[in-house]
């Protein structure tokens, strides 16, 4: 029922690096998928289109399942292609979420996902896949537990291998005996700490006049728990009402949340995602989530070019906006840009010396990449008190009717800020623990997909 066929990893040229888990199928089965994928990709590139995320592969034979073909779910990460053929009537999201989990684990094991890394550690990856998939059923997916069974590649192990010593890494002999599936037993830490990172991102679409067409704030709480024993935690928010549409880590007791709006859980050890949520607009009524950034933009298209101007202002009084990047796609044929960025540096509050920090340019920098036809304007920071920085300029295009994109993207970060104003009130540690852990909460607000039309 819920079963996938296997997993294939392709290098950027479409050659297989890893192809695992097709014992049920004829040997041609994976190559059939690879070929179909490669030709579909070539065609898509030639036609300047994007591939549908699920491709239909006619496998002719009725391999393992009961379909006369198979769906091929694929994603691209870091230039590599990850394919999951689905030979049965299965939820494609199942394949995608498996891939997601698989990629997370891979990242955790390999650090960086590169072709070389994968080639060097193929034995570990095979073993991982063996553990994660049993005939297409996801088996052990928690990184925590996988690490007990499949040891991650470490320098130490490499040294040992080179020295010819093996068999030393006898892992825990009693895996999965823990009563709590996500936590291994007998965790010990010399210092007991737990950190919560509240990360929020805002997606927004802004029209010509600067009005918000649609916007939503998505938040997630990442947790890094380094607590000994089996701590039972109670996390209280001062304003739990802003949390809407929560998606919980399985460790959270759903009923307690429904009843008291308190998060009660025994955390896994290490890093994990505790919660995802959508924030309810803080202001009541129809007011939408405001963008902390005011934008005035104008674009005039002329034959063989165009003129533009963008003015930014911060609506946030408490904190500076940081790492602001505005990217504008100037359309096919755009060859060069001439622009000036103007601005003035006025520090927020008392932190005046920051203004003189190295490399700071009033109004920021812009650059144009003629290959991608993208103009980027970068500002290291922006505060509400300074005169609004502007970028004015023009571009030249080889097309007589240039077609720059009708909207541009903005990205930014705000440290120690939360769009929804979510606040942690209190964290209580219960259970069989005798220590007082160190607790930390950090907030980060950033832009998700923000598009401004002009």
């Amino acid at each position: 029922m819920a079963r996938i066929d296997g997993i294939i990893i392709l290098d950027p040229n479409g050659k297989p690096l890893i192809s695992s888990h097709f014992p049920l199928h004829p040997p041609s089965y994976p190559s059939l998928h690879i070929d179909t994928f490669n030709s579909a990709r070539k065609k898509a590139i030639a036609d300047d289109e994007e591939l549908d995320p699920v491709i239909w592969v006619n496998t002719l034979s009725r391999g393992g399942g009961s379909m006369s073909g198979a769906g091929l779910c694929h994603v691209e990460r870091e230039g590599l292609y990850f394919l999951v053929p689905v030979g049965q009537e299965v939820n494609p999201l199942f394949a995608f979420s498996f891939l997601d989990a698989f990629l997370d684990t891979l990242k955790d094991y390999l650090g960086e996902m590169t072709e070389i890394n994968i080639k060097d550690n193929f034995d570990i990856i095979y073993m991982l896949i063996e553990e994660m998939l049993d005939e297409g059923h996801p088996m052990t997916m928690e990184t925590n537990m996988l690490k007990e069974i499949v040891l991650p590649p470490t320098l130490m192990r490499k040294l040992l291998n080179v020295a010819g010593v093996s068999g030393l890494q006898a892992p825990a002999t009693q895996p999965f005996t823990a009563p709590i599936p996500w936590r291994r037993p007998g965790v010990r830490h010399s210092s007991n700490e737990i950190y919560f990172d509240i990360e929020e991102s805002i997606d927004a679409l802004i029209d010509k006049r600067g009005n918000i067409l649609s916007s939503s704030v998505w938040g997630r709480i990442n947790c890094n728990s380094r607590l000994s024993g089996n701590p039972d935690l109670l996390l209280n928010f001062s304003n739990p009402k802003v949390l809407d549409e929560c998606a919980f880590h399985p460790c959270i007791r759903y009923n307690k949340w429904e009843k008291n709006r308190i998060l009660s859980f025994i955390p896994p050890d290490g890093k994990f995602r505790l919660l995802e949520y959508q924030a309810v607009p803080t202001t009541t009524g129809t007011v939408k989530n405001q963008l902390p950034l005011g934008v005035k933009a104008n674009m005039v298209i002329e034959p063989n070019g165009g003129r533009f101007s963008i003015t930014l202002s911060s609506r946030l009084n408490s904190r500076p906006l940081e790492d602001i990047v505005i990217s504008i796609y100037l359309g096919k044929g755009a060859t060069s840009v001439c622009a000036t960025a103007q601005g003035e540096r006025k520090p927020l509050g008392s932190r005046s010396e920051e203004g003189a920090a190295e490399g700071f340019v009033a109004g920021g920098n812009w650059e144009f990449d003629p290959h991608t036809q993208i103009l980027k304007w970068k500002l290291s920071s922006l505060v509400s008190t300074e005169r609004s920085p502007t970028l004015t300029g023009s571009f030249v295009s080889s097309e007589s009717q240039p077609t720059p994109s009708p909207s541009f993207e903005i990205s930014f970060n705000i440290q120690h800020h939360s769009f929804s104003n979510l606040r942690v009130d209190q964290l209580k540690v219960q259970g069989d623990v005798m220590y007082k852990p160190f607790k930390g909460v950090r907030q980060l607000a950033r832009s998700g997909k923000v598009e401004v039309r002009w």
Partner: protein, 769 residues
């Protein structure tokens, strides 16, 4: 002739190393073997050498050897037996990892010989202390069942599995459920299963496998619902799939299931969310309690919206499913249209889905916002998307009467942009608006005509010509405009030719004095110079009509057409029901029932047709496909929108009129006037006219009146599809009264047979009129 293994080459080297006395050399060699296998080199020759390395304390090395065995066991079945002892020994190893690994590998090898050795270790492992071993063993049962169902029955593995649903460890529960589900599916496919009573009792102890092996009885259901909240996301998916299959005993139980499944909406994993949506959609059917239904629909929307913020792949799958759900329950996302606004940087496949959903959500309340958005999209660069956006404006106009005027306004603005493809698409869309709201927006006709030169696509041209013909009496220089098309008649594509012909005839009927010459010209051109049978045949019909009875011609050609409407669904209701049961699966992404691509391949497609036939509506798509395959290539230009109304658009055009030459009307004719329940029914045009003028004919028409003459076969290009396509044209040679008892009925029975056979497909043919 047996070949001695070569003494050099990589495999030789590897063999040496595999047999080396040094452990690290052997370990290294195994890795290299696996690496070679990955890049597609054949390493099956090394089988005996690799197997020797099985007995080792190094777990990692063991795993790699096992991996090798799994890959090559199939090619070397007789050698696998060498490994059996080690396997059996390993299943009793003190290390649970080794136990699990051994039992799993044994079941994956799929070798009959091994299976006999597997049974007793497996039953031991199913009761192992360690949950890791138990959960691995649980899945093994499914694999054994696949190979040798009798074995499972004999050893009572399936019963053990059922007990495992009550296991304390949620991971074991999840795997037990997954295995049982697999067994259930496999048992459905067993060739000679004895028919079993649909009772809920446990299977009788027979050696024959029973498809009822995995029955969910109320106690199991309770276990499943408890496990649902405890196991991993993957286990939840398996349980939800099983719940979707479960037939609730009564409404109470359905309610219970819905209530217990609802919390799954809060899961991080999108697959769980969609799985839960599916279960609720299925069990909701039995729920009648108003407040529960309300709360279910209310809670269903937000998690779906949350999926929209996922990566594009997930988004796309979610959107496809949302699109489907909306067809059944349009209210669930009524207030969420903004979420679906397209971003410029969304991948095209996401944009198209969003657009479709937005039109579905359009209502009087949000129509202004929507139109603003659509206008925005129309200024983008992606031609395909822009066209779809323009088309969406037209769909909104047809869907919401009150907004039609605003939509026309937007379209006029778009035409002013003078971007060629925007203008062309807008013209096509306006044609549809005219069909829905005749005589409402005649004011814009001059603007449309001003853009005549810009049109270069057949569909746009044909649309504009249709408009000119329709409103010929209001357009002063209609004859001039049509004259320009007449000049290039021979070069135009067939759809444009057909439209030109019809429009000029309309013009003549409306303003007979001024257009005598032009109509003669077009009839001449169409009958003499045109190589399309359809165009020529239609010209002959008109000619005959005009010459014998202009009044009849008028009533036929200038008939009042029924307005078109936007269908709520893109798939037939019966299929929709089926798809909803498959929400979250591949079927829902393709919007085709699983039967069409699962199982019997092409047979599946026939099955789909059969099902589609049940609802009279929109069944024609498949038929159309058939016809297309049969070699038809014309286009039905007045078809509202092939994307939205799957109808035999392409088939229609060519089928509709295949009159045969030599002046005589010579074809079997039938009027299979579709039941007027079909909202897409454009072909009514012609018939409604006929019946208007001749009331007597009306009762006859809907019943596939057959009358006609067997034609000159040699003149037909595709007898198959044409000669029954003649809906109601009998009256053409004589006044409409002739309908039903026309001249010389030769083969009514034959034609009637064909008529019934193809009837559905023809519902739309006559849209051309």
């Amino acid at each position: 002739m047996a070949m001695a293994p070569p003494r050099k080459g990589e495999n030789y080297e590897l063999r040496q190393q595999l047999n080396s006395e040094y452990r690290d050399k052997r370990a290294d060699a195994i890795k290299r073997v696996i690496a070679n296998h990955t890049i597609g080199k054949d390493c099956s020759g090394l089988f005996p050498d690799v197997v020797k390395n099985m007995q080792t304390d190094d777990l990692e090395q063991k795993k790699l050897v096992y991996l090798y065995l799994m890959n090559y066991a199939k090619t070397q079945p007789e050698l696998v037996i060498l490994a059996v002892n080690t396997f059996v020994k390993d299943t009793a190893d003190p290390n649970p990892l080794v136990r699990a690994l051994a039992i799993r590998t044994m079941s994956i090898l799929r070798a009959e010989k091994i299976l006999d050795y597997l049974a007793s270790p497996l039953s031991r492992c199913l009761k192992d202390d360690n949950p890791y071993v138990r959960k691995t063993a649980a899945l093994c049962v499914a694999k054994v069942f696949d190979l040798k169902p009798e074995l499972c029955v004999e050893y009572g593995f399936v019963e053990t599995l059922r007990d495992l649903i009550g296991d304390g460890n949620p991971m074991v529960v999840a795997n037990a459920v997954a295995a049982l589900a697999d067994i259930y599916e496999a048992s459905l496919n067993l060739p000679d299963t004895p028919p079993t009573s649909p009772g809920r009792s446990s299977p009788p102890p027979s050696s024959k496998p029973n498809p009822e092996l995995f029955i969910i009885d109320p106690p199991t259901l309770t276990k499943l619902l408890v496990a649902l909240n405890e196991c991993s996301e993957w286990g939840r998916i398996a349980i939800l799939n099983t719940l979707a299959r479960y037939k609730a005993l009564d409404e109470k139980e359905s309610e219970h299931i819905c209530e217990r499944v609802m919390p799954q909406f809060q899961h991080v994993n999108a697959a769980v969310v969609l799985g839960a949506v599916k279960v609720i959609m299925i069990h909701m059917k039995a729920v009648t309690r108003e407040d529960l239904i309300k709360s279910l629909t209310r809670k269903m929307a937000p998690p779906l919206v949350t999926l929209i913020s996922s990566p594009p792949e997930v988004q796309w799958v979610a959107l496809r499913n949302i699109n489907l759900l909306l067809q059944k329950r349009p209210d669930i996302l009524a207030n969420e249209m903004r979420v679906f606004f397209c971003k410029y940087n969304d991948p095209p496949y996401v944009k198209v889905e969003k657009l479709d959903i937005m039109v579905r959500l359009a209502s009087e309340k949000n129509v202004d916002t929507l139109l603003g958005e659509l206008k925005e999209y129309a200024s983008e660069v992606d031609v395909d998307f822009v066209r779809k956006a323009v088309r969406a404006v037209g769909q909104v106009a047809i869907k919401i009467d009150e907004a039609a005027e605003r939509c026309v306004g937007v379209l006029m603005e778009l035409i002013e942009t003078r971007v060629s493809y925007v203008v062309q698409e807008a013209v096509i869309v306006i044609k549809d608006i005219f069909r829905k709201y005749p005589h409402s927006y005649e004011g814009i006709i001059p603007t449309l005509c001003a853009n005549l030169e810009e049109l270069d696509e057949p569909e746009a041209k044909a649309s504009l010509i249709w408009i000119i013909g329709e409103y010929a009496e209001k357009i002063e220089n209609a004859d001039e405009l049509l004259g320009t098309f007449l000049e290039s008649f021979k070069e135009e594509s067939y759809p444009v030719q057909l439209q030109t012909l019809t429009a000029i005839v309309k013009l003549f009927l409306k303003k007979p004095d001024e257009s005598q010459t032009i109509v003669q010209k077009v009839l001449q051109a169409a009958t003499k110079d045109c190589d399309s049978a359809d165009v020529r045949d239609r010209a002959y019909i008109y000619w005959r009509l005009l010459s014998s009875d202009p009044a009849a011609a008028k009533s036929v050609v200038l008939a009042v057409r029924p307005p078109i409407s936007l269908p709520q669904t893109t798939v037939a209701p019966a299929i929709l029901e089926e798809l909803l049961a498959e929400v979250s699966s591949l079927a829902s992404v393709y919007h085709k029932p699983a039967a069409t691509f699962i199982g019997k391949g092409r047979l599946g497609a026939e099955e789909m047709q059969r099902r589609a036939l049940e609802p009279e509506e929109e069944n024609a798509r498949e038929k159309a496909l058939q016809t297309v395959v049969a070699g038809q290539q014309a286009e039905n230009l007045l078809d509202f929108d092939a994307d939205d109304e799957p109808q035999p658009s392409s088939a229609g055009g060519s089928q509709s009129l295949s009159m045969l030459g030599n002046g005589g009307i010579s074809s079997s004719t039938i009027s299979n006037v579709a039941k007027s329940t079909n909202p897409l029914d454009e072909l009514m045009d012609l018939f409604s006219t006929a019946s208007m003028t001749t009331p007597a004919a009306q009762p006859v028409a809907p019943k596939s009146t057959v009358s006609g003459i067997q034609g000159l076969q040699d003149d037909r290009q595709d007898t198959n599809t044409t000669h029954d396509a003649f809906a109601g044209l009998t009256g053409l040679g004589s006044p409409p009264q002739g309908l039903g008892n026309g001249n010389g009925v030769t083969s009514p029975a034959q034609s009637q047979g064909q008529a019934q056979q193809r009837g559905g497909a023809q519902d739309d043919l006559l849209g051309l009129f």
